[in-house]
Amino acid sequence: MEQKKLAIIATKGTLDWGYPPFILGSTAAALGYEVEIFFTFYGLQLLKKDLDHLRVTPLGNPGMPMPGGMEKWMPVLVTALPGMEAMMTSMMKKQMAAKGVASLTELRELSQEAEVRFIACNMTVELFDMDPSEFIDGIELAGAARFFEFAGDADICMYM
C-alpha cells in the first residue's frame, strides 16, 4: 500500500488554533501518513522556540465556553477589558493541564519526532520582519510552489 499524504496549511497564531495542525499532523504520522505543514501569516507564531506568547481571547468569539457559563450573560464589551485575554489564557492552560491535554510544545516535538515536516512561508516571514533564528530547528523556508509540490499529490489537504 502506498503511503498516504496529508498536507496542512496553518494560518492562525493563537493558543487554541495552534492545536489542530499539531494534533492532526502528529496523529496522521502515527497512522503512517507522510505529513507536511505549511505555516503562513499568523501560523508562523507556532514555529517560535518559546510558545508562551500565544494567547486565547473571548473577544469576537461567541462560541467560547467560559467558566460557570459566563459567556451567556457577559456583555461583549467586557471581553475587551484589559487583562481579560491574559485571564482567559491562564484559565485555558489550567483546564488543559487538568484534562491531560498535551502542551503545544509537546505536540510540536512529537510531530517532529514522527517526521512531520514544517515549512515556513518565506514571503510572510519577510513581510513581518521575522527572524528565522527565533524558530525551532528543522524548519524549511519556502514558497507556495514548494508547498504544491507536496500538496499536489496529497490525499488530504486541510486549511486551518
Binding site: I23, S26, T27, A30, L31, G32, K99, G100, V101, A102, L107, L110, E113, A114
Partner: protein
C-alpha cells in the same frame, strides 16, 4: 488477560497522546510482540480500533476494567 511483552500506562492523558505514545512504544518492539496499553480517555476505545485498522497492528483485546481501558496490540 493474555500475555504481553511491554506495558504503556497512558492514564490521565487525552487525545491524541495515548495513540502517539503507543505508536512510539510499538516502534521499539519486534514484530509479533504484544503491547499492553492502559488509558482513561473514553475516546481511546474507538481511536485504538481505528489505529489498528489503519496501521495493521492487530488489536487483540479491548476491555474496560475499574474505570480504565485496557488494550492489547500485537506489532505487525
Amino acid at each position: 488477560m493474555a500475555d504481553f511483552d511491554d506495558e504503556l500506562d497512558a492514564s490521565g492523558l487525552n487525545c491524541p497522546l495515548p495513540i502517539l505514545r503507543a505508536k512510539k512504544a510499538l516502534a521499539a518492539l519486534d514484530s509479533g510482540k504484544v503491547l499492553h496499553i492502559i488509558a482513561t480517555d473514553p475516546g481511546s476505545v474507538k481511536d485504538f480500533e481505528a489505529f489498528s485498522k489503519q496501521t495493521g497492528n492487530e488489536l487483540m483485546e479491548s476491555r474496560e476494567e475499574g474505570g480504565k481501558f485496557h488494550f492489547l496490540i500485537k506489532k505487525a
